[in-house]
Point group: C2
Chain length 298, copies 2
Amino acid sequence: MAATGKDTLFARMALIGAGLIGSSLARVARRQGLAGHIAVSARTQGTLDKALELGFADSVSLDAAEAAEDADLVVLCTPLGAYGSIAETLAPALKSGAIVSDVGSCKKIMFTDVAPHLGEGVHMVPGHPVTGTEHSGPEAGFAELFENRWCILTPGVDTDAAAVERVSELWRRAGMTVETMDVAHHDQVLALTSHLPHLIAYTIVGTATDLGDELKKEVFKFSAGGFRDFTRIAASDPVMWRDIFLNNKDALLDVLGRFTEDLTALQRAISRGEEKALEDHFTRTRDIRRGIIDAKQD
Amino acid sequence: MAATGKDTLFARMALIGAGLIGSSLARVARRQGLAGHIAVSARTQGTLDKALELGFADSVSLDAAEAAEDADLVVLCTPLGAYGSIAETLAPALKSGAIVSDVGSCKKIMFTDVAPHLGEGVHMVPGHPVTGTEHSGPEAGFAELFENRWCILTPGVDTDAAAVERVSELWRRAGMTVETMDVAHHDQVLALTSHLPHLIAYTIVGTATDLGDELKKEVFKFSAGGFRDFTRIAASDPVMWRDIFLNNKDALLDVLGRFTEDLTALQRAISRGEEKALEDHFTRTRDIRRGIIDAKQD
């Protein structure tokens, strides 16, 4: 199905990777008529077959360069660890004026692993739609995933303003509010709001897997007391998160250090029975929740 | 409103405390006609007024002993720190054959702080409905809170079997599945499935409050990446959780030690770039989530 001319932002959009985010972007682009043609490339034929079956791709290819050929916009939607080799593969196929973007949770990697492969006339606009679920794969996507969420773009200072605006418009039409940010600042903020929570959730759920089988069964049964919420987060895609942790290592280890200090302080307060210190701390955290409700992200 | 005779389990049920759990128990008892008369005692007149206004109490009193007088069942629904003094206050008012239970998240305290005050003819059946929300107070309760969740009872080995059965039946009629467990085992399992997750959530949210104002605002904005789920847990009642941590100190510090070891190991794997170790760990945690879905607690 070709989109109507009026709302089309890109004559041809190529998505490299069609998991939760990529397939959701394809779906909303389809629904809103944001791209004249949606080309999808993925690592396995199974994903490509699924993309055709679910109807969110106009063409599919195992070769990223083939999908990227003649594309006005190429969006990397794979785990971060694949960025470098994909950029190397598809760069020669890019036409002058093409925009290369992505949806990854760390943004520095676009400058270190992708930019060096791109030719003169290609515009790089790194992007991060801050949304997701614990599910993965092409069947997990849905067009509404982006609604009322933030999308952060981290273009370089010299990046073509028109290219940045076109990518902004794509995400706005998908339902997001777009904000531009310095790349290092993005990686610092997300280390705290996303990467550390995931690391902690993976850890605590891992701690439970090391228990004996009998105790483990009880952990499942009585998970409604709080544990359950952590397992939801810790069910996210393992390869994606491995790559995020490794690529945002410095910022993540920094906030992890602060967290560990704070945990040690609470541990000591519990160990010493310091009632007042504990109550004060827990009252403060309740106010933070109110801040999030005020920011309409609850 | 008096309940119909047929389904009434207790002619008079006294609830000491009418927050989220207490008021929910009153509501479901009302709806199912489980008690002929529901007496509510609370620390403030405001809560008692609310209980009458919301219609889940037949009588109210600031004096726990007055509420407990002639009661067939007394349920402590306050923070753990108040158990000892409440038990001391109401014990002389209890009639022979009365049952004393509670809804707290640690169970050892019933044996250390409550049992010593109870007379010969009184039966103690400690209970823990494993459910909740991040909201607190009499208005936060609802009759459906207990549906399809577990309730754990930890009676002593010599406790009257008929008393245990009557308390079990109360929770079954509220929609729960009831399991009996050794008190120390309960406190160990809950330290992992509930107390540690709450402590971690309180810590990470606290770490964010110590940031500068500008960064804090961004944490709110971009919380959809994972942080949000932690703030929900960390919005729970501060006094209730302070008391839980202090009362289950030993078991909590034990699982916290395991968690810290595991976190240090993951930190080292990230710091050293050990891809395989990270991916293996995150794949294992995904299976745990499947276990919880299988246990129908998701």
